[in-house]
Each structure stands twice: as structure tokens, then as C-alpha cells.
Symmetry: C2
Subunit: 659 residues, 2 copies
């Protein structure tokens, strides 16, 4: 191995190896093999190329480093410690994988400064990185290279590349020529089940070629070759994949190059052998001062200073800082309120997907950074406005993105855009295909990223496309995700309110479940107050204490209103509660819940979906009018009758409850 970059790189890399194998050993669990294998690549990248400032982990124009192979978390924690990220002390390294440490088993965004994304579920990191690289180009198109000019670097494993989501991400990145993206493939020829050839024969380099990437190959332990490849990557007009042939567990005397070094401590004896083989005589968690000094000399604080100077000297500083904050300003809040009141005044009968499209049309110009797209269902999801253009390799300004039929890659990219900062992404497909992007939706929730999922065709109301396209369990499955707010508005006004709540929210994702079919405006107020804010509210009340309360969502609120009217004529006192967001209602205090749903008064739930989860969210046993299994293919009206989700069925349910 030639190494004209000086022997310090070898020692710097060995510091990563030692910290990794020792921390895993101490934790009695973890993955030493990958950090030991990729230590050389990471050293050259961080020491010579990565633009970062340990004193400012959130500096907007920093390069992003994504450890897609998140199980190798000790690689990242070692780098953060060695380069001097303040919170990443040696004590944290010693407490790897222990309760309360910032050194969790897999890197967790928000938990550990310097961790750019939560990774571990394979394929997510590389796919979020595509979103980050796209966000950089979109913001660069707006603010110019003086203010936005950084790169996204990824370490990806064989497993990352086997995952389907990687295909979606890679093809999107190739299509958009995201040349600020560079992926290091840890080509170590080892998977958990053994050599990769037990399950894989793909020519990975050719695969990236086919997707429009520039591809390079290097010896992943040759510092000079790695450096040269990165230099070349920086000049590419395409995204770059560098295949790094490495030895997993590099240095371990018997386990290197085997699955045995992948996911378990090496053991004391093997570690002693590795120390010898690597020429690393230091005790566990001891790093010689000169190695610390070499590492602490990396980073780009002076580049950060220069950026701050440029920011200070531009008249766009306030605009950029405000956009990066993600918080709405007064203009945005006013636009939202005015739109609500306009809808309340005009009462348009619209499918909620159409109401959503009109809401976007009305508010998008007031929300700098509001960008989005659809997984090839633009005309169905109604997510494209007349404002601005479509993102392409020739012009990244956007704000609209044709994601192609790539639901999972789209959701992951949205996470990446949200994590990057400066953009507020919304992404769209049919509600039932939330199943295709659930891996990424879960991460939106876990990472507390305010991605807006616009999911239309929300029930059997979509009609003829049949059970493959009709969600019945999907609302439940999404409501079950912690920190995911699922909205199902009943009319154009609630749709506007849901959009407002999804956009004002900064600590987690929202789903807007929207109808294909037209819905009349049921609300009679002027729209000045967002009534959806408590998740559910009294839409139509009876005189005095109700005999029963109908709680309904979305397109079925109309059935509840009609049923209550008919029941009123029969002398029943029935209240109608519209529940655009059951999750938000479940989080209200008991007093409000009791005000809406008085104790002892029976509750009838109505939703063209399964009952599953309703009782838990309402904290009550519910008699339910809805679906009991999969749907069918027929015109929507026929299906509602066939599955007995009708005004008459609601009336019958109330009467049965009161009998």
C-alpha cells in the first residue's frame, strides 16, 4: 500500500478501528467490522475533503456525511470524537449502546450532534442523501454558490444497495444529475449470511452506470487512491459512486474478511491480535495526543468563517436565515388564515384532493421553501400548482418534482430535504401506497421531520380500481405510528385547516388523507378559527345533553350530519363530531374530550375504513359503521351501498345503540 499522504493517515484510521472494536467489546454488542473496513476511506474523506466545523454541527453550508450503513455507527462516533465535536466525549464512546448515552446502537438524528440522519434501516441513508443533494441544488438555484455550495457524501453497504429503495433513489439521482452527491460503496464482499455471492451476482458498477452515475473503483485501504478518486468525483457532472474494495474487520487476525467480524464483538483475544497487526499498542479508549492533534487539525472552520462573512455581506441573509428556520412568518400565517376564510365564504363543493390542490395554489408563494411532488400521480393527487417550474437537471429551482413511480425513494428524499433544512417538502401518492413508503414514513416520525404526505383516494370512494387500491386498514396503520398526525378532512375548509396544521408543525410528519369524490362544505362558521386544532370538535349539536354522539371523519361526516338530522326529526338528540385528526384529539386533555364526548353517552363512529384503533384513540368503546374487510371494484356509490356505509346505516346504528 503506497501512502504518500504520510503515515499519520494510517494512525488516524487505526484510531477509528481501535475505538470501534473496543467500544463494541465494552458494550458486548455492535458492529466492529464495517468501521474497521471503512476507516481508511473515512479518514481520507474527513481529513482532506469534508467541509465541516466541529464547533458548529448545524452550519447550513456544511457538507453532509451520511452513514447509510448505520450499523457501523462507531465509525461515525469515532470521527465525531476524534475531530472534536464537543458532546462526543470519550465517556460517550465508552458508554456505546447504553441507556442515556448519545452513542446509540444506530446513529439517531436529533439525539447526537453531528449525526445528519437516523440510519440503520438499510437503504434509507443513501436515499435521504439524494434528497439532501437535491435540496442543496434547489437552494443553490435560489441563493447562489456564495451561500449554498456543499456536497453530500455517503457510505453505503452491500445491504443498502440490495434494498429496493436504493434503486429508486439511485435512478432519481442519476436522472437529476445530482453531481454534488458521492457514494462510497463498501465493497467488502461480505453479508450477514456469508459471502455476498450467496445472494448477489449483480455488477454493481454497471448498475450505477445504467442509472447515469459516474463510477470509479479503488482499493479502499490505499489512501492515495481514495484521495485521487475523490478529487475526480468532485469534477463530475453526474453523481458519483466509488466502489471501495475493502476488508471487513481490517486488522482482525482471524475474523477480518469474514462475516464473523460483522455484527458481534471480536473478543479479547482477537482484539489483542488486531492491536498487534495494526501496530496500535495503546490501551482501550486511549488515543495518543499526536493522533488527536492530527484529527483536530481537520475540518473547515476557516471556510465556515468565510461563509459567515459572505452571509453578512449579502442583502439576502435575512431571507435565507428565515427560510432555513422552517418557521412560518406573518405573511404565511396570514395567507393561511385568509385562504381559510375565503373557503368558508365561498363553500366550494370539492373533492378534498381538489381542495388540497387549491390550498397549495393559494399559499405556496407565501411559504418560501415549500416544495413537493408526486410519485407519477400528479393529475390525481393534484399537487402541482401554477407557481414556478419543474425541477430538472437543467434547472433545479422547482418547486415541483416529478418523482416517478418511486414512493419509497420519494418519501426518503423528502426526509433528506427536511433534514437538510430550508425546504418544507410535501409528497404524494394514493393512500394505499403508504405501504410502499412506510419504512421512510416511520423515520419521518422518529426523526421528527415535518414532511407532509398528501395521500389521495382515501377509501372505497375511489371506486372501480378495486381492493388493491382501496385503503381499509391504511388509516389505522398510519395512526399507529407514534408522532404521525393523520388528517382526514371532511370538506374544503377542514382541508385548508389540515394543511395549516401540517405546515405550522415543526416536530413531526403529517398525512393528509384526501377523497377522490366531491364533498360539500359542511362548516357554517367564517373560518377565522382553525377548529381542527383539537383534532375533533362539535360540528352539529343538538339541544341539551345528547342521546348519542356520532363521530365521523372525511367523506363520512356528511353521512353523520344527514343521519343526525333524520334522527332529530324522530325526536333523537344526536350530536355530530367531526374528527379530522383522531391522533390530535387523543392528545387533548380529559376535560375537552369529556366536553365533546360526554361520559355515558354512546358513541357511534363512522369511517369508510376498519374500526381498528378507534376505540384506543377515543378512549371509548365505539359502535362502528365502516368496513370490515377489503373493498371491491365498482362505482363508488355502489360500493357504499354494498358495504352498508350509508346515512340509513348510521341511523340504524344510533337506534340500535339506544334501543
Amino acid at each position: 500500500m503506497t501512502d504518500t499522504l504520510g503515515s499519520s493517515y494510517k494512525d488516524m484510521a487505526n484510531a477509528i478501528r481501535a475505538l470501534s472494536m473496543d467500544a463494541v467489546q465494552q458494550a458486548k454488542s455492535g458492529h466492529p467490522g464495517m468501521p474497521m473496513g471503512m476507516a481508511d476511506v473515512a479518514t481520507v474523506l474527513w481529513a482532506r475533503h469534508l467541509k465541516f466545523d466541529p464547533a458548529a454541527p448545524a452550519w447550513a453550508d456544511r457538507d453532509r456525511f451520511i452513514l447509510s450503513a448505520g450499523h457501523g455507527s462507531m465509525l461515525l462516533y469515532s470521527l465525531l470524537h476524534l475531530t472534536g465535536f464537543e458532546d462526543m466525549t470519550i465517556e460517550q464512546i465508552k458508554n456505546f449502546r447504553q441507556l442515556g448515552s448519545i452513542t446509540a446502537g444506530h446513529p439517531e438524528f436529533g439525539h447526537t450532534p453531528g449525526v445528519e440522519a437516523t440510519t440503520g434501516p438499510l437503504g434509507q441513508g443513501i436515499s435521504m442523501a439524494v434528497g439532501m443533494a437535491l435540496a442543496e441544488r434547489m437552494l443553490n438555484a435560489k441563493y447562489g454558490e456564495d451561500l449554498v455550495d456543499h456536497r453530500t457524501w455517503v457510505i453505503a453497504s452491500d445491504g443498502d444497495l440490495q434494498e429496493g429503495v436504493s434503486h429508486e433513489a439511485i435512478s432519481l439521482a442519476g436522472h437529476l444529475k445530482l453531481n454534488r452527491l458521492c457514494v462510497f460503496w463498501d465493497d467488502n464482499e461480505i453479508s450477514i449470511d456469508g459471502p455476498t455471492h450467496v445472494s448477489e451476482s449483480t455488477d454493481v458498477v454497471k448498475r450505477f452506470d445504467a442509472a447515469g452515475w459516474e463510477t470509479l473503483r479503488v482499493d479502499g485501504h490505499d489512501h492515495e487512491a481514495i484521495d485521487a478518486a475523490i478529487e475526480k468525483a468532485r469534477l463530475s457532472d453526474k453523481p458519483v459512486m466509488i466502489a471501495c474494495r475493502t476488508t471487513i474487520g481490517y486488522g482482525a487476525p482471524t475474523k477480518a474478511g469474514t462475516a464473523g467480524s460483522h455484527g458481534a464483538p471480536l473478543g479479547e483475544e482477537e482484539i489483542a491480535g488486531a492491536r498487534e497487526a495494526l501496530g496500535w499498542p495503546h490501551a482501550p479508549f486511549e488515543i495518543p495526543d499526536e493522533i488527536y492533534q492530527a484529527w483536530r487539525a481537520t475540518g473547515s472552520p476557516e471556510v465556515h468563517d468565510a461563509w459567515r462573512d459572505r452571509l453578512a455581506s449579502t442583502d439576502r441573509a435575512d431571507e435565507l436565515v428565515a427560510q432555513l428556520s422552517g418557521e412560518p412568518d406573518e405573511t404565511a400565517l396570514t395567507a393561511l388564515r385568509e385562504w381559510r376564510m375565503k373557503v368558508a365564504a365561498e363553500k366550494p363543493k370539492l373533492a378534498s384532493r381538489a381542495a388540497s390542490g387549491k390550498t397549495l395554489e393559494a399559499i405556496l408563494p407565501s411559504w418560501p421553501g415549500l416544495v413537493g411532488g408526486s410519485a407519477d400521480l400528479t393529475g390525481s393527487n393534484l399537487t402541482k400548482t401554477s407557481h414556478g417550474g419543474v425541477v430538472s437537471a437543467e434547472d433545479y429551482a422547482g418547486p415541483y418534482i416529478h418523482f416517478g413511480v418511486r414512493e419509497h425513494g420519494m418519501a426518503a428524499a423528502a426526509n433528506g430535504m427536511a433534514l437538510h433544512g430550508g425546504l418544507r417538502p410535501y409528497v404524494a401518492t394514493f393512500l394505499v401506497f403508504a405501504d410502499y413508503c412506510r419504512g421512510s414514513m416511520r423515520l419521518s416520525s422518529l426523526m421528527e421531520q415535518p414532511v407532509v404526505y398528501v395521500l389521495t383516494h382515501d377509501s372505497i370512494g375511489l371506486g372501480e380500481d378495486g381492493p388493491t387500491h382501496q385503503p381499509v386498514e391504511t388509516l389505522a396503520s398510519l395512526r399507529a405510528i407514534p408522532n404521525m398526525q393523520v388528517f382526514r378532512p371532511c370538506d374544503a375548509l377542514e382541508t385548508a385547516e389540515a394543511w395549516e396544521m401540517a405546515l405550522v408543525r415543526t416536530d413531526g410528519p403529517s398525512v393528509l388523507a384526501l377523497s377522490r369524490q366531491g364533498l360539500p362544505v359542511l362548516r357554517e362558521d367564517d373560518g377565522a378559527v382553525n377548529l381542527s386544532k383539537q383534532g375533533a370538535y362539535i360540528l352539529r349539536d343538538c339541544d341539551g345533553e345528547p342521546d348519542a354522539v356520532i363521530v365521523a371523519t372525511g367523506s363520512e361526516v356528511l353521512l353523520g350530519v344527514e343521519a343526525a338530522e333524520a334522527l332529530g326529526e324522530q325526536g333523537r338528540k344526536v350530536r355530530v363530531v367531526s374528527a379530522p385528526c383522531l391522533d390530535v384529539f387523543a392528545a387533548q386533555d380529559e376535560a375537552y374530550k369529556a366536553e365533546v364526548l360526554p361520559q355515558g353517552v354512546p358513541v357511534i363512529g363512522v369511517e369508510a375504513a376498519l374500526q381498528f384503533g378507534w376505540d384506543s384513540l377515543l378512549g371509548r368503546s365505539v359502535r362502528f359503521v365502516g368496513m370490515t374487510g377489503f373493498g371491491a371494484s365498482a362505482p363508488a356509490g355502489d360500493l357504499y351501498k354494498h358495504f352498508e356505509i350509508t346515512t340509513d346505516a348510521v341511523i340504524a346504528a344510533v337506534n340500535a345503540e339506544l334501543a
Copy 2:
């Protein structure tokens, strides 16, 4: 266009076009463009190559035809009608997309004879086809080519190939050299959002090359070229992809070649123009006799007869027929019962994943066709037995399959294997990664296929890997799927019972949610009767009417037992109900449910997951001890204490309820 195959092919293809555009027009919804574009390819395939017998849609050795682009369902329905599948009458065609017809919006397996798989969710068809082609090779390895020797043909769209699951399926098929698989890519350069170039720049042919496929290109309207390509494909030793350059909506005067012909009726005027352009003067739904005759002359009844003769003359007929039935025989049932009783006698303390592995080890030889694998977590899922070998391109006998890190493709392939018949697939990953394969799991349920999902590491009990790997909402999200039975056994005996129920079941999929951590055997009976059959049962009872009932699942049943014992010493009468399958319990009659959970007696639920769904499934308001959000990274014992899922917490919950 040269056409030495005779002008009848042109007319035969036009019959498909006419039926498709007319049926969509009559239904006022649907997708005429794809059937019109791929009519020529389908005609050559069905008329000259596909091995099928309209009189026997379920003939075991037929070729499989999978319309992955399921939105083009009229292509398939037209073919079934024209070739003479009895149920597919012209009346059914006229009733396309209407309630009660067998011509649903998307093809539905089990609903329509001749439909081999439910398709429409993109990417699923091609991925199921990989499972079918693999099943054919595995059964061929056992029974030889006299009995098992057929091909799987797929029509896939641009959208199918954009989906990530297609990457997993294609790379697996290439790795296993499934040369009986042939995919026709409908390369029509049109997506819903417009020309494919708005979102796609991949060199698709190179992509398949990279995955180890043979690739060909043809003019998809040139019958001779199509025929020659198929002839070539039949000789390949690799799976084959034929890129068919077609014109979507072929024949439509203004909409052909545009997104306008994709997903909506063409309109009367356009249809009249198409009739003229195609030279098809016949009225809607009228097919001239000579065209019917030409179509009815296709198919392979004589090949079917010959196969029946070979089957009759082999001494393996009974074995094959029994294996194809999917029903367990006496040997299998005895093996299951004996294994249960052995476990009951020996009471091994095992993680339920380990108990699952031992169950498989014990019963696999008694279940011909029981095959399975893991998404690169074999040593964690414990799914590999000592019986037989590993499937490879050199030897397909199996029964074990290294699926690689391809959860979605694995689940889709399992659907394909189950649909194919003769194999009973089980597939494995971590429970939390059910999110990655949910698109296919939903189809298992919808198609009523008895796939067994072995999902280990089922809670925070997995410990240090942290929240990305800890399911909290996953059980709820799976229980929400209609017809999905989710088991969470509490010990080795319940694990054996769950396996029995999953295998004996023939009308839908099962999930086995299994622990990483060791669990003592709590059952005290001899295992002769499968107590899990009713989903939940009284595991420990008190004397007389209980003050409270603790219902628990999996690893938390032990907490319930310990709590009940402690409470008993305090004078509380507490019953413990083990609920290995809440879905099955929910389906019991009210009498049994009231016997287990007496009315008026409070219920305390215990599960290291969210409460979501428990109240609906038990039909009761439940006080819950479990998770309220995402997990954390730490040793399992620390996490149980941190999240207060302990015996003391259960005791406190019972006392609070009774206070």
C-alpha cells in the same frame, strides 16, 4: 411492418384493442392505452408460445402469464375471453369494473379463473413472477421435467420497473439464473405525468444486463420480430428481458403515444377514429366468428393431455398431487402434535425465535414443499434447518433460500411461490422491517395465500439496536390488515402451536412475532391440545370469579403470571389470559370471549408495544402496560425498566384499576 405470420395476428390483436377500448368506454373508467399498445406482443405470446388450456385454468404444469401492469386488466380479460376461458363471457367484458363482475378494475386472483396473481400495485407482478419461476425450478428439481416444465411470462410497465421491489426481484432472478422467466417490458415512453423522460433516464437494458439477465429489443408491433425474440428467449440460460418498443393506445388517432390514452376512456370520437385506423369495422363487443376461431385454436390442450398421461404413468403422481394440494397429511399433523408434546414435556427455556427454529427443524421433513429463507438474517431469524440444502443456480432443490437484504422482493416471491402451488413458503426478517414488505404482505392477505412471515426481534427486548430496530407500532399495523393472523407466542410451546396454526391454515398469511430474548415455558399441560387455537385462553386462573383479568402476549405473559401470583398473595383474585393471537380471539363467538373475559371484570393488557388496536380486538376498554412511543438503545433489561414494563408495573396497574 412485415408480418409473415399471417394477417390473422393483426386481426387477433385488434380484437383485444377493440374489446379494451369499448369496455373502458362502457365502464367510464379504466386504462385502454396499455392493452392497445401491448396487444401485438400478447397475441404472439398467447397464440404461439404460452402453454395453457382454457378448459383447465389450474393445470399445474401450465405456463404462468402475469400482467404486472395490472391497470391494463382489459388485455388479460380480452385474452381470457377470446381464448375461451368459460367464465369470461362477453357479458363479463361488458360489465367491466361493475359490482359482482369477474372483470374487476385490476386482475384479482381467486376472483377470476385464469388470473394468476392480483396485480395493480406496481412492481408486485414481476416480483411474484420471480417466485413462480423459482417454484417451478424447485419442483422441477424434485419431480423432473416430465411433470414440471413450464415458463413464467410477464408484461411489465415503466412504473413496474421504477418501483424498488423490481430491483430486488430482478437481482434475485439474475442471481438464481431463472431462465424460465421472460419479462416483456412495455417500453412505450409514457408515464402518467407525461413522457417517461420527466422522471427517468435509466438505461433499462443495461440495468437488466447488470443484474445478469439476457436482454433483447424488439419493435412491439412487429409480430415476426416478437416471435423471433421469444424463440431466442426460450433458449437462454438466464432470465430474459425483451424491451418492446410500443405505442401506447396504438390505433387511437390523436391519443396514441400520449399519456391521454393511459388511464381514461378514449371517448366516442377517438374510438371511432381508432376503428377506422385499425381496420376494425365491427360494433362494440362484436367479434367476427373467424377471429374467435383463430383465437380458440390457440392454447395447448393436447400438451395438457400428454402431461396427464405422463402423470398417470408415474409412481410419483400421488406425491405430487398431495404436495400441490397444500393440505397437510396425517404424517405432518402427527409430527406437529408430537413436537408440541415433546416441548411440553421438556420445557426448554428458549427465545421464541429459537423455539421457532427448533420447531422447523422438527417438522420440516414431514411437510413436503415447506421451503423458506431470510433476508440476510439467517443466524438471527434462526430459519435454516439441517435438512436439505441451499437453493442456487446450480441446484434448485433447496429448501433454503438466501434472499439477500430484499425484504419486499422476498415477500413478493413468497406470494409467487404460494400462488404457484406445491410450495409452502416461510420468509424471515426483523419484525420492524415488515414495513419494508408491507406492499406484498397486504397482497398475501388479499389473495388469501398462506405465506408464513417469521419476524423476530419483536420488541424493545432486542435491546441495543435501538428505536430504528424496535417495533412498537408494528404489531398493531399488521393486526390491522384483514385476514392477517399475527401470533406472538409466550414460550416454546405456544411457538409450536403458532407454527401449527400457520401451516394448517390455507386461506391466508400468518405472522410469527418472535422474541430475541429467552422465555421460560409457562404452560403446564402436556401439549396434546393446541390451546392457541382460539387465539387467547386462560393460562392461570384464580379461585372463583376474578377481580381482574390480565391479558398478555409473548414475552410479557411472564410479567402477567408473576404479577398475578404476587397479587394473589395480597388477596386479589387475578386471572392471566395468554393471547398468542388477538386476531383469532376477536373472531371467536361471544360466549367464548365472555368465558375468558367475563363482562364487568376489568381487563389489564400487557404487551411491549403500543395499546393501539387492543381495545378494538378485545371489544373492551383496556388498561394497558406497554409502550407509548418509540424505544431507545440500551440493554433489554434496562429498557424494560426504563419504559416501566415490569411485574411491578402490572401489579400497580391492577391495583389502580381495582382502587
